[in-house]
């Protein structure tokens, strides 16, 4: 089974034209398997988590009951991006599995919304939020090693509580960046091949081989996003993650959850801050999955 579909162009060259569509099912099954395996592991095998001792009482006393996590701007970005992402996935893949409808217009409009929201997010996160809070740091790497050793039954000190985002969340964000930006960049060029309001069609912008590679990359990013989004929705619905999901709706998480999961030293919170008006330390592309 060839994962790509090939064709012979007018000049006799064999060029890729897009991914083989069975990869849609491969991605969906992979996402589903991950969900099932993780759910079974958490239900039957996972041990209670252990962290290093919590912060000093004097610090804890300053933590408010409602800990601000996502500003209104960040939440709006997240849900606009989610809506456009779902629209993109449904309009891209439903026709491939037999649900026929006029999908192209919806697809490029949703892609335009996604592109605009991501550009905004990059600007917003770079200049108005704590840009580095979503990237793995040394403590993340050290704690990941500790957690792996402890999982394998080997002696290791307990990890510290998380900063604003757990390592898993940061890695997921990285995967979304790779898949999302691949889909966006190739998608913008692919808009030169259809009629849109933005620029005149120019199907000869690239060679057939380059176009083919672009379609392949777009398809691979798309099917990758199927699995990633399935995982994301799954974690968003898990009971122990619901406070994180709720924070993406209401903007704050409870003091108890904050103290249970997060380290005030790594994610300091201002005591007097109002959830709706506080300035975030960082927002992220999608809600936490860690």
């Amino acid at each position: 089974m060839d994962p790509l579909q090939w064709a012979i162009d007018p000049w006799g060259k064999t060029v890729p034209i897009h991914i083989a569509w069975f990869l849609i099912w491969v991605a969906a099954i992979a996402g589903l398997l991950f969900v099932i395996v993780h759910a079974i592991y958490v239900r039957y095998f996972a041990k209670p988590r252990e962290f290093e001792p919590e912060a000093a009482p004097v610090i804890l006393a300053k933590i408010p009951e409602k800990v601000p996590r996502h500003s209104l701007t960040a939440r709006a970005f997240h849900w606009i991006m989610a809506a456009s992402m779902f629209t993109l996935l449904f309009t891209a893949f439903l026709p491939r599995v037999g649900v026929q409808f006029d999908w192209v217009t919806y697809h490029w409009i949703a892609g335009t919304v996604l592109t605009a929201s991501v550009i905004f997010h990059i600007f917003h996160a770079s200049f108005f939020l704590d840009f580095w809070s979503i990237w793995p740091d040394r403590i993340d790497v050290r704690d990941a090693r500790r957690r792996i050793l402890r999982f394998m039954g080997k002696p290791a000190p307990p990890p510290e509580r998380f900063a604003k985002y757990p390592l898993e969340n940061k890695l997921y964000h990285g995967a979304i960046i790779v898949a999302g930006l691949s889909a966006i960049v190739t998608g913008v060029f692919m808009m030169f091949r259809v009629r849109t309001i933005f620029f005149p069609r120019n199907p000869y912008l690239f060679s057939d081989m380059t176009w083919g590679m672009m379609y392949v990359l777009h398809g691979l990013a798309g099917v990758g996003l199927i699995a990633l989004i399935m995982m994301h929705v799954y974690f968003g619905l898990r009971p122990e993650k619901r406070p994180i999901t709720k924070s993406m709706i209401f903007g704050w998480m409870s003091r108890d959850f904050y103290l249970e999961e997060h380290d005030p030293a790594r994610w300091p919170v201002e005591a007097a801050a109002s959830p709706s008006r506080s300035r975030e330390t960082k927002t992220e592309g999608l809600p936490d999955v860690g």
Partner: protein, 342 residues
């Protein structure tokens, strides 16, 4: 690329003698199966080695699919009825002459003797690039070679293009839409009856097909209700060579006039988009108005709203506007045209 060969490629030929047997084979073969009606479209594909089915199901031995039958509410035409039979059938000529007129302008007498009504409405696009085997959208690829500044697109779409700009080449399709015909489709699970206009689909729905038939499906008959029997009909086909050619555009209409005003009307145009277009907005706009030049002028302008020409087919916009105009108020004017309607 396309190379005409003198001989047919190898495939398994199945010649069923009943609809049930044909449908069973097609269902078993799925995408490997190919329905052969008159062969006027199929043989090009097969000889060019562009379509390579493993099994060809020849329907010529299925007598259930042939002939014109009178029903309680009109007529039923078997999908394998030849175009010549349609043209010459007395009931069709008397009550549904629009269909006879359209079928009579299909290709040449030899082709009408062999080509079928089902094949005429189900034939594939005639875009040069697609027929040449290039990996365009319609062939499953990712480009339209016709919709480029250098592309040869004189025959292509001015309306509802979506990536692919090929048009539906059928002459009988707009006539059947104007007559409010129903298409009977046998699927693996049941029999479906769809309105003629819903039988055809554009690239926005499925870029690789011009109709709703999926692998395993079979068009068995076309029913024409008596609703429009004896109405005032108009059909006109514009083509490069009047002796034998596909339409650049064609138009079909059925109109009932009462008290000097248009009581009911149905208009369809083909060659303008990937599917024959029923001009519902135009129909609504002219209803209740006198069928004169002024109404026709208004209808023509309305018909081409939203048309987007390609590099070499802008002529189709005034052409379509005038054809629609003639269907309503310009019948007298149209008499000088090479249209063969009696």
């Amino acid at each position: 690329m396309a190379v005409i060969r003198d001989v047919m490629p190898a495939f398994e030929l199945v010649q069923p003698n009943s609809i049930a047997d044909a449908q069973k084979v097609l269902e078993q073969q799925g995408e490997d199966g190919w329905v052969l009606a008159g062969g006027m479209d199929s043989f090009d594909w097969l000889k060019d080695r562009i379509k390579k089915p493993k099994v060809v199901v020849d329907l010529s031995g299925v007598s259930e699919l042939k002939g014109v039958r009178t029903t309680a509410d009109g007529i039923e035409i078997g999908a394998m009825t030849t175009l010549t039979e349609v043209v010459e059938h007395p009931v069709i000529r008397e009550k549904y002459k629009l269909l006879a007129d359209s079928a009579e302008l299909v290709a040449s007498p030899q082709i009408r003797n062999q080509g079928t009504l089902g094949g005429n409405v189900s034939q594939d696009a005639r875009c040069w690039y697609y027929r040449a085997g290039w990996p365009c959208y319609r062939a499953g690829g990712n480009i339209c070679y016709a919709d480029t500044p250098e592309g040869r697109n004189r025959e292509h779409a001015i309306l509802q293009a979506d990536r692919c700009v090929a048009v539906n080449p059928s002459d009988s399709a707009p006539a059947l839409i104007a007559l409010d015909a129903k298409f009977v489709i046998r699927t693996s699970k049941s029999e479906r009856v769809v309105d003629a206009e819903d039988y055809f689909i554009g690239p926005e729905v499925d870029i690789t097909r011009l109709h709703i038939l999926k692998p395993g499906d079979l068009l068995t008959a076309i029913r024409i209700p008596s609703t429009w029997a004896g109405a005032k009909f108009y059909f006109e086909k514009i083509r490069d060579r009047n002796v034998w050619d596909f339409p650049l555009l064609n138009v079909a209409s059925a109109m009932v006039v009462s008290n000097g005003n248009i009581d009911r009307i149905r208009i369809a145009v083909n060659g303008a988009a990937a599917r024959p277009l029923r001009l519902k907005l135009v129909e609504d706009a002219v209803q209740g108005k006198p069928p004169n030049a002024a109404t026709g002028e208004m209808a023509g302008k309305l018909a081409v709203q939203g048309a987007v020409p390609l590099q070499f087919n802008a002529y189709k916009i005034p052409l379509m506007r005038n054809l629609v105009k003639r269907t309503i108020g310009g019948v007298e004017e149209a008499k000088w045209t090479p249209y063969n309607g009696q």
